[in-house]
């Protein structure tokens, strides 16, 4: 298909830059704490550190909730930073979202530690209200309320993105480039970042509305137990929210690839009709494939399961053949010298594309029947979050720490080590899935613990290297803030 236009973003004139830096600094610090919680869980499963199961499940709840939260916070920072060069945004919204985020975090920490809530980040109805005395109702309500507050903050943030895109481009359809894709227009062609932002705005808004709905329903159930929810409806709402929201964080982060690789290679990332079609496809697919989380709920309609399997496969096309291949093409024989930022961006594309493979495998019903809720599941999502999303965020942190200078600097050894430790870490999850090890078990059988032990060692390496990347950003944070 023919190219439509060429778009090469200028250096950002970021409004809300201080908030972007604050978001990323918070992301880095919370990320390290959540990684330590994750390491603790792997050490407990390895049999190396005794941990009371109640504490294990509290840590599991905090780890899952915290990681999803900072994936969104860091992703939001990356997207805002680059989008604000194309679309005029009100930076006070970043402040409001950050304030609500902190309020929600405090509520969740109080609920999960003093309150002992351990209902997992998926808060699957009716578990929050049915703990057999493990945690009080107030703790469940505080945790769910905290999530709701955070969700409201991100909803406001999404609405501001929508407002900005509509004000600049005339509508969300035009933000997705439909006037080019379907109307043949060559005017106001949105750059890749705007297309991605529009997709994120649409799918995240819908996800947050579904999440808020099921949170409010669960809170009502906690207050009035006689008011029950259909468990299958609740599960659908939760997975529609959870699946869409966490996927959207990667679509937020990928704008770093769209924006930085052209500057590093001095080659353009073009908005082509294929690119626009891919993002429209992703917008649709991300919203409809969540039933792949419910393939073992046989009460679901069979057509929904078919969508869950077949369209999960189709959803891999845009990642594999458009964004992934586009990144490889822009780097191939580009004459660059690899440094930390460019290698992190390369790793991020590998992690995202490779992580799609076990995800699609697991979304196949015949596989899901013997892999669902085994370690295979955290294997696939750690793959594309640890090796896809996080390197995108680290690349932006270091890019900012370097004053947005894209000339190659120094060695990329730490990025390569991060890749190796990360691969070792996620492979142990996948091998655990192959060995039928259930996920979310506080205690593991002795024959499973070899995988946990190797994973623990790998996790130490991942955490050490993450500390290096975050520290590189944090030491420069005061100077970045002073520079404005």
């Amino acid at each position: 298909m023919a190219d439509t236009t060429f778009t090469h973003s200028p250096a950002t004139t970021d409004r809300g830059r201080r908030w972007v830096v604050l978001y990323l600094a918070t992301t880095g610090l919370v990320l390290l704490l959540m990684m330590l919680a994750g390491l603790w869980m792997r050490l407990a499963q390895a049999g190396w550190v005794y941990t009371d199961p109640a504490l294990f499940y509290q840590l599991m709840t905090v780890h899952g909730t915290g990681m999803v939260g900072i994936a969104a916070l860091g992703g939001a920072a990356v997207l805002w930073h680059f989008l604000s060069a194309h679309v005029r945004l009100n930076s006070r919204v970043m402040g409001a979202n950050f304030g609500l985020f902190l309020i929600g975090v405090v509520a969740i920490l109080v609920a999960d530690f003093p309150g002992r809530f351990g209902g997992a980040w998926t808060f699957l109805y009716p578990l929050p209200a049915t703990s057999q005395g493990a945690w009080p109702a107030w703790a469940a309500a505080l945790h769910l309320g905290g999530l709701l507050v955070i969700g409201v903050g991100f909803l406001i943030w999404c609405l501001e993105l929508a407002r900005g895109i509509i004000a600049t481009y005339g509508g969300l359809g035009r933000g997705l480039g439909w006037h080019v894709l379907f109307g043949g227009s060559m005017r106001d062609v949105p750059p890749p970042t705007v297309v991605a932002a529009t997709m994120v705005t649409i799918v995240t808004t819908l996800a947050l509305i579904a999440g808020a709905l099921v949170l409010v329903m669960s809170l009502i159930n906690l207050a009035f137990p006689a008011v029950e929810i259909n468990p299958l409806l609740a599960k659908n709402l939760i997975y529609f929210f959870g699946h869409t929201f966490i996927n959207a964080t990667i679509y937020m982060g990928v704008v770093a690839v769209y924006e930085l690789l052209p500057r590093i290679t001095d080659r353009p990332w073009k908005t082509t009709k294929v690119f626009l079609a891919a993002w429209t496809l992703s917008t649709t697919m991300v919203l409809i494939i969540f039933p792949h989380h419910l393939l073992m709920d046989f009460a679901m309609p069979v057509w929904a399961m078919a969508i869950g399997q077949v369209f999960s496969y189709v959803n891999s096309f845009p990642v594999l053949v458009v964004t992934g291949l586009g990144a490889l093409a822009i780097l191939h024989r580009s004459g660059i010298r690899w440094d930390l930022v460019s290698t992190l961006l390369l790793i991020s594309m590998f992690g995202w594309m490779a992580g799609v493979i076990p995800a699609v495998v697991d979304a196949t019903v015949v596989v899901n029947s013997v892999m669902h809720n085994t370690m295979w599941v955290p294997g696939h999502f750690h793959f594309y979050l640890l090796l896809g999303l996080l390197p995108m965020m680290f690349a932006v942190m270091i890019h900012l720490a370097r004053g947005e200078d894209t000339r190659p600097q120094g060695s990329d050894l730490t990025a390569l080590l991060y890749l190796l430790f990360g691969l070792g870490f996620v492979s142990m999850f996948l091998i655990g899935g192959w060995a039928s090890v259930p996920r979310r078990w506080a205690e593991h059988l002795p024959e499973w613990q070899i995988w946990d032990q190797v994973a623990s060692v790998m996790a130490v390496g991942v955490i050490a290297l993450t500390t290096v990347f975050v520290a590189m950003f944090l030491v420069r944070t005061p100077a970045i803030l002073r520079e404005g």
Partner: protein
């Protein structure tokens, strides 16, 4: 070779193949060439990849869906009613015959549980969710006699990891 082994081998082979592509791009990135021919090649590869995924992968994905557990066999000779509780399983019988279909009618009395059947070697052979208010019907044929374990595969609270039951599978041949 069981489904798990096929899945892990297929995944690792494809990931390694992808890694090889990335390593090649990384290794050749220092060579400076005009972008136009590189981009032209990329477009050709993209077109090939797209049509390969459509013409080969999509039919496979659709064909594989035929292998689904949703259409339970009518009138299975053996039926076990299963109810999940925090934190134990209640099975109205725990002995079945090998080689004869068993229909598990699985529900929950409280929260969501996961009814996972493990063989004597510790390999997961079948599963369904146990959800309050719904009965999921899972039909399974035990090929090998022995003692199987039922493990909970959906997080259900503090003793989730100890929610284990046993099913004894005897030599087949009868209608159970």
């Amino acid at each position: 070779m069981n489904v798990q082994t096929v899945s892990v081998l297929l995944s690792f082979i494809l990931i390694l193949a992808l890694a090889a592509v990335f390593l090649r791009v990384r290794g050749l990135a220092h060579e400076g060439r005009d972008y136009a021919p590189v981009q032209g090649n990329a477009y050709r590869i993209r077109a090939f990849g797209f049509w390969f995924l459509i013409l080969v992968g999509l039919p496979i994905s659709i064909w594989l869906f035929r292998e689904n557990p949703y259409t339970a066999e009518a009138a299975a000779p053996q039926v076990i009613n299963v109810t999940g509780y925090q934190w134990y399983w209640e099975l109205d019988q725990s002995e079945v015959a090998a080689g004869v279909p068993v229909e598990f009618r699985v529900t929950s009395a409280d929260v969501n549980h996961g009814f996972g059947i493990y063989d004597a070697a510790g390999t997961l052979v079948a599963q369904t969710q146990a959800m309050p208010g719904y009965v999921n019907r899972l039909t399974h044929v035990f090929e090998t006699p022995g003692t199987y374990q039922v493990l909970c595969l959906e997080y259900c609270g503090l003793v989730h990891h100890n929610m284990i039951a046993e099913i004894v599978v005897t030599e087949g041949g009868s209608d159970g």
